[in-house]
Symmetry: C2
């Protein structure tokens, strides 16, 4: 926010944001979310705590159950608005995304922020976390239209945001990208 | 840091810091720590995950076991330096502290950051988390000299920092305080 460049994919607007060094910083609010590893397939996404509330004057986060992996993100609009069911999935690279991107897609890990309370494959141009049968990836980010074509009506959750890791050279980040 | 006012108690230097609104912000690093409620007495302090490491480019925190309560703190020097055994204990007010402070001590919750890997009551002027027999408070922050007088050689952990909640009026915070 505040003059930040956002790459917005598609009409449903899934923001793709590169985290800046020290950015868990810029906004006056931060968000702690449970993290699931994509390599655990849907196991962790189904198990991760569903509800996390903020308690008291220090904003202590209280999850409905214990969890090992957590990440702090800046209070970005799409993230702050999430309620129950918010989760982050960490992927080792961006090949799970349904669009082609120049260069970076094999080289960078990404975080996918998803809302598990919205499982219905509602919008053709929405993006969803969907299981990959027999695949090594566990699941990927799939377009609503693609899921509907194969008769899938329920996903693991709606994707609300994609986060890229911080980099030293951020100048060329916009020109370097080549969205499909 | 960076021109910040620190109230330092005693020669052992336990910093007492009031968190500013939006401060989990100012430094380029934040720290996620497990939180224990003082009302659970020593139970949670003994159970809370001992080791939390940071993983990958997004700084995902990985605890050795699941835990429900977490807090994000700015990357303050005494906190960043902590390794295994770091824990935060939330107290509903500051009456657990071994010194008298004007006004605020009954009105404000505090967080005590402690290092469970340093249990030995080493310094007379150090501060330690110690159990209170039969008390409603569970435990309190006790001076090393006081523990030694009663023959206690091992504490639950050494106190490294005390955090006060953010307040709207921060101008008078220094004059308002009256350290013993």
């Amino acid at each position: 926010k505040e003059g930040r460049e956002w790459d917005v994919i598609d009409a449903v607007r899934v923001p793709v944001v590169r985290l800046k060094f020290g950015e868990v910083a810029e906004s006056s609010k931060v968000v702690i979310l449970p993290v699931c590893r994509a390599e655990e397939k849907d196991k962790e996404v189904l198990e991760a705590p569903w509800e996390c509330s903020s308690e008291g004057e220090f904003g202590v986060v209280v999850a409905e159950k214990g969890w090992k992996r957590w990440v702090v993100l800046p209070g970005w609009e799409p993230v702050v608005g999430l309620g129950k069911g918010a989760v982050v999935v960490s992927f080792s690279d961006a090949r799970v995304l349904p669009w082609k991107v120049n260069k970076w897609y094999k080289e960078e890990p990404i975080l996918v922020v998803a809302d598990r309370s919205k499982k219905e494959v509602a919008a053709d141009d929405g993006f969803y976390l969907a299981a990959v049968e027999g695949g090594g990836l566990g699941f990927k980010v799939v377009r609503g239209s693609a899921l509907k074509e194969t008769g899938v009506k329920e996903s693991l959750g709606t994707v609300v945001m994609i986060v890229r890791p911080p980099r030293d050279d951020t100048d060329d980040q916009l020109s370097e990208e080549d969205w499909e």
